[in-house]
């Protein structure tokens, strides 16, 4: 059977599974809709968190980022796993004990203020929308590459599926579909990785293959370092980022991870405080399987790419090369007219991606209009690393179809988790807590469902018409979470003295300075664009890493302001006393 047929079968089966689970796990009350009734086992919650966390970007992009960034890519590996240690030790158990539905619930109650609650809701909505637009786009892209439909049609199909189980099942439906989606995505990621590791190193475990020798008896990384320095690249295991920037980006990603509402909310679904700790452990374990495999795939892929294409005549290039060239993810310009591919440092094209024009070149290659002046002739999209790997390794068609299903599982599960946060923010934090407090449970459930509908439509709109800045600002989501929620929650738990005034001014200051810095240096919306380049960065910190500075500002301002304003009332100090003690968490409080 060909790839197309296999893809239809496997994607069709997984979708039928997700919908089946959604029907089986319909939500009957707001508690089931918001936190799955608080009855999810730690293992299931760990699996669901893994799927929730690993987006299309993790699944398709992670190995690619590392393959092309080498040591610099480590910030993502450490940043997106280390945050779970903070979650398990500093946040999850206490928020579970607190026992309500959302992050703004905690901020609003702990800081006895609807202003604080509103700041939290706005931040939660902003973070989630930034993130979800990228996911819906990811769904569309995977569909278009594997099923030969328009990107926009892919987005519509994705919207319909996510809406179906988010609308029916809320958190309960999402949790159990995410469990299934984790299994699909990890299987789809590991099978090709194991095959390739076996082929390259003779060892089926990619994590061990990473440290082993290839057929020629040379250690893989030594060989790759050698290949790269010979061509004039920085060695794979050496970085180009400054140490300060590495520290700041890693920290921003860690604190951001720990502050993302769609991750935190998952820990409200387990029965007990000890389960919240345990399920954070399971979640990280399941995430680590993918995150420790990705660097191995990255090394295999980069070595393979250099060995296959560098100085190879275009006529002798393998079939996968021309196939991906036809999709526009690879582009080659014969700059020196020798008919061979030169893969060297520097950007091969001006701007973000190649602009293709009609007609073919002398060797039959596709022509582009924006070739750069550097000697590098080859443009390779990073996403190709995971997508093309099975083909490069010559694996059977069903495995290639499996990768498509895995990519879809990753994108859908993350989108669903985010949509739930958005709908909960609207129906619970805004309508129930602020506008119509005496709304009945049944009515609130319907409001929640319609908020989910609204969220899906808005997310789909962004997926079809992606605002120019979305692609470049995932950093924004992490920076904002790190500079707003993380300090407010930590101090809400660990400091009894932290009060309303301190938390609000801290959140506003942290958010404000981070937004300013990103608008100034990343988006070029403020100030003279000529002075928004790297040499003007404050202390050499990139916009990706500035969330850490925002977080420090938040902590400093909060502590300072709280010292000069009255201590929180007795009953709030009572709340803090209470969340520190794990017993008696019982069920999530109805209210």
């Amino acid at each position: 059977m060909d790839i197309q047929t296999w893809t239809f079968i496997i994607v069709g089966l997984t979708f039928a599974l997700y919908i089946g689970i959604a029907i089986w796990s319909r939500a009957g009350s707001t508690k089931e809709f918001y936190v799955a009734g608080g009855g999810v086992s730690p293992l299931a919650n760990g699996l669901a968190t893994g799927a929730d966390w690993m987006s299309a970007a993790s699944f398709l992009g992670m190995a690619g980022i590392i393959a092309f960034a080498g040591y610099d890519g480590s910030v993502y590996l450490m940043g997106w796993t280390g945050g779970y240690v903070l979650l398990a030790l500093l946040l999850a158990p206490y928020l579970r004990k607190f026992g309500k539905f959302t992050v703004p619930d905690f901020i609003g109650d702990r800081y006895y203020s609807n202003v604080a609650r509103t700041v939290a809701v706005v931040a939660a909505l902003f973070v989630s929308f930034t993130y979800v637009a990228g996911q819906m786009r990811g769904v569309g892209v995977v569909f278009s590459r594997f099923l030969d439909v328009e990107v926009n049609t892919g987005v519509y199909i994705g919207m319909a599926v996510v809406f179906f189980y988010a609308f029916l099942g809320g958190m309960k439906g999402i949790t159990y579909t995410q469990v299934a989606q984790y299994c699909v995505l990890i299987f789809a990621f590991m099978v090709p990785a194991i095959f390739i590791s076996l082929m390259v190193t003779g060892n089926p475990v990619p994590q061990i293959g990473f440290a082993s020798t290839g057929e020629d008896g040379v250690y893989l990384l030594d060989k790759l370092d050698g290949l790269m320095t010979e061509l004039g690249f920085t060695a794979y295991t050496d970085g180009t980022k400054s140490m300060t920037d590495m520290l700041f980006i890693t920290a921003a990603l860690m604190m951001g991870t720990a502050g993302l509402p769609h991750v935190i909310i998952r820990f409200f679904t387990v029965p007990k405080v000890s389960d919240a700790r345990k399920s954070a452990g399971y979640a990280l374990l399941f995430i680590a399987i993918l995150y420790t495999t990705a660097p191995a795939i990255a090394v295999f892929a980069r070595t393979n790419l250099i060995e296959t294409v560098e100085d190879t005549p275009y006529e002798e290039i393998p079939a996968w090369f021309t196939k991906w060239e036809n999709t526009g993810l690879i582009a080659w310009t014969d700059k020196n007219g020798d008919g061979k591919i030169q893969y060297l440092p520097g950007e091969a094209v001006e701007g973000r991606q190649p602009e293709f024009v009609e007609g073919r070149g002398a060797q039959g290659q596709r022509m582009i209009s924006n070739a750069s002046s550097s000697a590098n002739e080859l443009y390779v999209d990073r996403d190709i690393t995971v997508l093309a790997n099975p083909e490069i390794a010559g694996l059977p068609n069903w495995i290639i179809a499996l990768v498509a299903a895995g990519g879809l599982a990753a994108a859908l599960s993350t989108a669903a988790g985010l949509l739930l946060v958005i709908s909960t923010s609207i129906s619970h934090d805004l309508i129930k807590k602020q506008i119509a407090p005496d709304i009945s449970d049944k009515k609130e459930l319907w409001v929640a469902r319609f908020s989910a509908l609204l969220a899906v439509v808005v997310a789909g709109y962004f997926g079809i018409h992606p605002p120019g800045f979305v692609a470049s600002v995932t950093a924004l989501a992490f920076g904002l979470a790190a500079s707003s929620f993380f300090p407010a929650i930590i101090m809400g738990i660990f400091s009894k003295r932290m009060n309303r005034e301190g938390a609000i001014t801290g959140m506003v200051a942290g958010l404000g300075i981070t937004c300013y810095y990103i608008a100034r240096f990343k988006l070029g919306w403020i100030g003279n664009p000529e002075t928004s380049t790297q040499e003007y960065w404050w202390w050499g910190i990139s916009p990706e890493g500035f969330g850490t500075m925002g977080m420090l500002v938040n902590f400093a301002v909060s502590i300072l302001v709280s010292r000069f304003t009255p201590a929180p009332p007795e009953e709030v100090q009572g709340i803090v006393e209470n969340i520190r003690i794990p017993s008696g968490a019982g069920e999530a409080i109805e209210h």
Partner: protein, 84 residues
């Protein structure tokens, strides 16, 4: 549970947090970034040690840290009879 007991329980929890977070910091920010050049002088199999910590080792340690914390806290909860 009286307030003295609570205080003691919380202090012990904070002690665990301090130790585990110090290790968390050491393996990632320490071994993976600050000391990476020094550690790269050593090798683990075919991988420079600093690089290995940045791309593999720190993640393994993170997973272990959480499960150690789970065990420590389950014991502590039992000791203070808070595991109900």
């Amino acid at each position: 549970m009286d307030s003295k007991q609570r205080e003691k329980y919380w202090k012990e929890n904070l002690k665990y947090l301090g130790i585990l977070l110090a290790i968390w910091f050491l393996v990632s920010f320490g071994f993976g970034i600050l000391l990476v050049d020094q550690l790269n002088a050593f090798k683990l199999g075919g991988v420079k040690l600093g690089f290995w910590f940045a791309q593999q080792g720190s993640i393994y340690v993170f997973v272990i840290l959480i499960f150690v914390y789970v065990r420590l806290m389950n014991k502590l909860d039992k000791k203070y009879k808070l595991d109900a």
